[in-house]
Symmetry: C2
Subunit: 83 residues, 2 copies
C-alpha cells in the first residue's frame, strides 16, 4: 500500500536557532512586533510503499534517523496517511 508521510524536523528547544532569531528581529523591522519566538525547521513530504501502516512507520523512522534529521541538533515527528 501507498502511504504519505508528513515530517516536521525542528531544532531542539535547548539549542539556539540563529535563523529563527534573525527572522524574529526582522519581524520587528517589518512592522510586525507581535510576532515572536520564530523557530525554523524543515517540512518534508514523501511517499512510502509498505505492507502495513506499522511497517511504513518503521521505514519513515529509519529514513529520518539515517538521512533526514540530525538527532544531535534536531527532533522530528511525522504523520502517516494512506494515499
Amino acid at each position: 500500500m501507498h502511504y504519505k508521510a508528513e515530517i516536521d524536523i525542528m531544532p531542539l528547544k535547548a539549542l539556539l536557532d540563529p535563523q529563527g532569531k534573525a527572522v524574529s528581529a526582522s519581524m520587528n523591522n517589518l512592522g510586525l512586533p507581535e510576532v515572536t519566538e520564530v523557530r525554523i525547521g524543515k517540512h518534508i513530504t514523501l511517499n512510502v510503499e509498505a505492507g502495513s501502516k506499522v511497517d511504513a512507520s518503521a521505514k519513515v523512522d529509519e529514513a529520518c534517523k539515517k538521512l533526514l534529521a540530525n538527532e544531535i541538533m534536531e527532533s522530528y515527528e511525522f504523520e502517516l496517511t494512506e494515499a
Copy 2:
C-alpha cells in the same frame, strides 16, 4: 491573546525540488527504495499576539507574504492555536 502558528512552506508542485530529488536518490542507496517523491520545504513555528484569531491569522499571513515565503516558488499554509 497569544496564538501559536505552525506554518508549512513547500516548493510549488510545478517546480523541480532539487534537494528533494537528491534525497530521493539517496534513499535508494541507503536501502530504502520504498521511499519516493521526497519534497523538502520549511516548517516554521512562531507566537503572535493579537486581539482575535482572525486578527492573528491576518498577521501570520502578512508575515508569510512579506518575509517567510517566496510566493513565486513556494506555497504556504498555516494553523493557529490559542496558546
